[in-house]
């Protein structure tokens, strides 16, 4: 399952990435890494982009970007 499918209010742990690119490198530098716990806070109108919380801050990213992030331990 990827972050794009995680429901609003759910938490999960990052398990990996679908690809490696400057985009995913930037995502990693922002702290979205394997074993990072994150939570979907809300979705913008039309469900995209999404706002997630990690490491004590809020980050927005698009569904297409969220779909590159694989998750485990969904709560």
């Amino acid at each position: 399952m990827t972050l794009a499918e995680l429901k609003t209010g759910q938490k999960a742990v990052v398990s990996g990435f679908k690809e490696y690119s400057p985009l995913t490198q930037r995502i990693m530098q922002l702290g979205v890494l394997e074993d990072t716990v994150l939570e979907v806070l809300r979705r913008a109108p039309a469900g995209d982009p999404i706002e997630i919380r990690l490491l004590g801050y809020a980050l927005s990213l698009r569904q297409s970007e969220a779909s590159l992030i694989e998750l485990r331990d969904i709560r």
Partner: protein
């Protein structure tokens, strides 16, 4: 922790310092970095550009006990990786590779204590750059409110640098930061921190190899190129080298990190180090309750409530721009009028008096009068930005922006363009995708900039009735202004969509953006930035607009033939023989007006206007309007100054109608019909909404797209659109 020897910079070129030391300020976006910078410098700062790229460079002076130091505020960034030339500037400054900016004597890293881990990523990269470093730990109060306590002493010891807790917004800890700066300047100390010693070593080796092969490269450039596969540093290194270096880079990456890409490896190793460090220095209590940001976001980022709020906020902003500015504008007008009267009364009639009164005071005064509106608009933009609302607007607008092929990141440059397209176009550097950048650049000049505001304000206040609805809450003039803003937005969005569908086709880019917590904007910082904007506007009014006002005055005043004076003197004598009393006074007054009009028709500007009048005739413009519009192609707000000059010099002498708006209302065609009819005025407004009348913007487009093609395309496209729009309005208005 890591004690691997490093920190010395054999490759960095020390430029050799003058007596004034240089301090660089660096940090993540949205953490109060600019507020701290403003606290350190006060008004002793200015905005310039970094050479080669068009990133805004804020430089200031800070007074330390050891003397003055120059301080450079670098753009906010999360890492030293670069996907664009804009992002590369931070690393280049730290390594002394930017012309005009000496290698810093020390670096001040600003850190948000409430998001320590994410901030430490950049901190570790900056410390490894090998310059004396001081960390300013900002927002300790916010962290504590969130239940986070940080052992400052321990953090400093682990990083090997001084860590000073500050509250930039309240101005607390500023003296301690200054003290640490003095220490770092007088007894430079380098941290031995090195999270990735193997990468550092391999980069130095590869750089030596490349230099031995005759290439001019720096160690840090190679290190960034190695780590950021496919990034900007790699492309730049390839351009700097004569041979294909990608295979070499790939081989080193493979050797350093066989299991995963080196860039991923860097992120993982740094965060592993960060987490170990943070676990030692940070204690967080279990937080109870819902934070203010979360409660506000339940409304602000709500799909329906948030959208309604957004429209409401924008409407309030534009209503206020009109309503609050009026008393201030009236007093500026009164001062200019009094000054003109004094000069007219005390100086002899002639070219010099005319230059001062009709050229300088009328021209510059009619532009300066719009300063209150510009300041109010800027104050709103700054407050929306600093409070964190702007990021929410981008979040809410992303889906909409994508409909025209752009992203929410284009929203901020577009919104900045409401103040001025030049910084807006410069702000497009945050958009990594070139096609998106160009589309945003083409859309940006459509946004209603502060220079369009005077034109709108003048025409609206002169020709749109002062009606209010709903007990005075809605004001018709304000609504017309709001409509013009919407027209600009529609024009820009349609343009971006059109170009993204045709010349700039390509995949949609990323949208990674932090949504910072809501904060109260800092008043001192707000005032400093407002002052900076006011200064830029006034300097522009004092230079470009002053020069154009004088040139236009000369075009209007000269050749001023004596024959006209003689002809009208004779007519006055005849009138004096024929009439007397009030009839004579009226007759003489008419003759004065006719004489002024005769001079104007004979003038150089009159001749230019008449030559081009046929082109603008279908838009309902006479030669006066045509001249004013043509003269305003270098800078659109000049049209007010030109009209001011044209109508003052050709002035219908009437003590009651001193203002320009009254003079243009009275302007007529030779047959006596009004020039400024409602369709013509709306057409003129549409023309100004679309047309690209700004040399600075054209130049910025050229620089940012690095070509002459795009500015030419933009200019022709926008001018044609303006003409077509005005033509359509006038034809429809006349038919109806």
């Amino acid at each position: 922790m890591n004690i691997a020897a490093s920190g010395d910079r054999p490759q960095a070129q020390k430029h050799g310092h003058g007596p004034t030391p240089v301090i660089a300020v660096i940090g993540n976006p949205n953490i109060g970095k600019s507020t701290l910078f403003n606290q350190l410098t006060g008004l002793r700062q200015k905005i310039a550009n970094f050479p080669g790229v068009t990133v805004e460079k804020h430089v200031g002076t800070v007074t330390l006990t050891s003397g003055d130091a120059n301080i450079v505020d670098l753009p906010g960034t999360y890492s030293l990786s670069a996907n664009s030339p804009d992002e590369m500037i931070v690393a280049d400054v730290l390594y002394g590779q930017v012309e005009d900016t000496e290698i810093p004597d020390m670096v001040l890293v600003v850190v948000d204590a409430s998001t320590l881990r994410r901030n430490l990523f950049l901190v570790s990269q900056v410390i490894e750059a090998g310059l004396p470093t001081v960390v300013a730990l900002n927002m300790v109060d916010v962290a504590e409110a969130n239940g986070i306590n940080i052992d400052v002493e321990r953090l400093g010891a682990e990083l090997g640098v001084r860590v000073i807790p500050v509250n930039a917004a309240r101005g607390q800890g500023i003296d301690a930061v200054k003290g640490a700066m003095v220490d770092a300047l007088q007894q430079p100390h380098l941290s031995s921190l090195n999270v990735l010693p193997d990468v550092r070593k391999a980069s130095a080796e590869l750089a030596r190899e490349l230099r031995d092969a005759g290439n001019h490269v720096e160690d840090y450039e190679v290190e960034r190129a190695l780590v950021d596969a496919g990034g900007y540093a790699e492309q730049r290194l390839q351009r700097a080298c004569t041979t294909d270096i990608i295979p070499q880079l790939e081989a080193v990456r493979e050797r350093l990190s066989p299991d995963r890409p080196l860039g991923a490896s860097e992120a993982h190793r740094r965060y592993a180090w960060i987490n170990a460090l943070a676990d030692e220095v940070e204690t967080s209590a279990v937080k109870t309750g819902v934070s203010l940001t979360e409660r506000l976001d339940a409304v602000v980022s709500h799909p329906l409530a948030g959208s309604v709020l957004f429209v409401l906020v924008m409407a309030i902003v534009f209503q206020s721009v009109f309503a609050w500015a009026t008393p201030l504008m009236d007093s500026i007008d009164a001062v200019a009028g009094a000054l003109s009267d004094r000069l007219n009364a005390s100086l002899p009639e002639g070219a010099l008096t005319s230059l001062l009164v009709d050229g300088v005071i009328a021209g510059v005064g009619s532009v300066v009068i719009f300063l209150p509106q510009i300041l109010i608009l800027f104050a709103f933009i700054i407050v929306l930005e600093d409070s964190g609302y702007m990021a929410r607007a981008a979040f809410m607008m992303d889906r909409v922006m994508r409909a025209c092929g752009l992203s929410g990141t284009s929203f901020v440059p577009m919104l900045s363009s409401f103040a001025c397209a030049v910084p807006g176009i410069m702000a497009t550097r945050i958009i990594p995708n070139r096609r998106d950048r160009i589309a945003t650049i083409l859309a940006a000049p459509f946004m209603t900039c502060s220079a369009r505001l005077p034109v709108y304000a003048l025409l609206i206040s002169a020709f749109v009735p002062q009606q209010t609805y709903l007990a005075g809450i809605i004001n018709l003039q304000g609504m017309v202004l709001f409509g013009l803003y919407l027209l600009g937005i529609v024009g820009g969005v349609t343009t971006a969509w059109l170009f993204k569908r045709t010349a700039l086709r390509g995949p949609t880019p990323s949208f990674l953006m932090e949504l910072p917590p809501y904060r109260l904007p800092n008043l001192k910082s707000l005032l400093i930035r407002l002052w900076e904007r006011a200064r830029i506007f006034l300097v522009r009014a004092g230079t470009v607009i002053f020069s154009v006002a004088v040139i236009i005055w000369a075009l209007v005043y000269f050749p001023h033939p004596q024959s006209i004076q003689d002809e009208f003197d004779m007519k006055r004598e005849i009138a004096a023989l024929k009439y007397d009393g009030e009839v004579l006074a009226q007759r003489l007054n008419d003759l004065d007006n006719q004489q002024a009009a005769a001079y104007l028709e004979q003038s150089y500007l009159g001749r230019i206007g008449k030559t081009i009048e046929p082109i603008f005739r279908p838009l309902g413009w006479d030669w006066k309007v045509s001249s004013a519009v043509v003269a305003s192609f270098p800078a659109r707000e000049v049209v007010i100054a030109v009209m001011g000059t044209i109508y003052a010099v050709g002035g219908e002498v009437d003590e009651e109608s001193a203002g320009l708006r009254k003079r243009i209302t009275a302007a007529t065609w030779p047959d006596g019909s009004k020039v400024f009819t409602l369709p013509m005025v709306i057409g003129l407004l549409v023309f100004y909404a679309f047309c690209l009348q700004c040399v600075a913007t054209v130049a910025a487009i050229g620089r940012e797209t690095d070509s002459w093609r795009w500015p030419v395309i933009a200019w022709v496209y926008m001018t044609a659109l303006g003409y077509a729009g005005a033509f359509l309005v006038v034809q429809l208005g006349s038919a109806g």
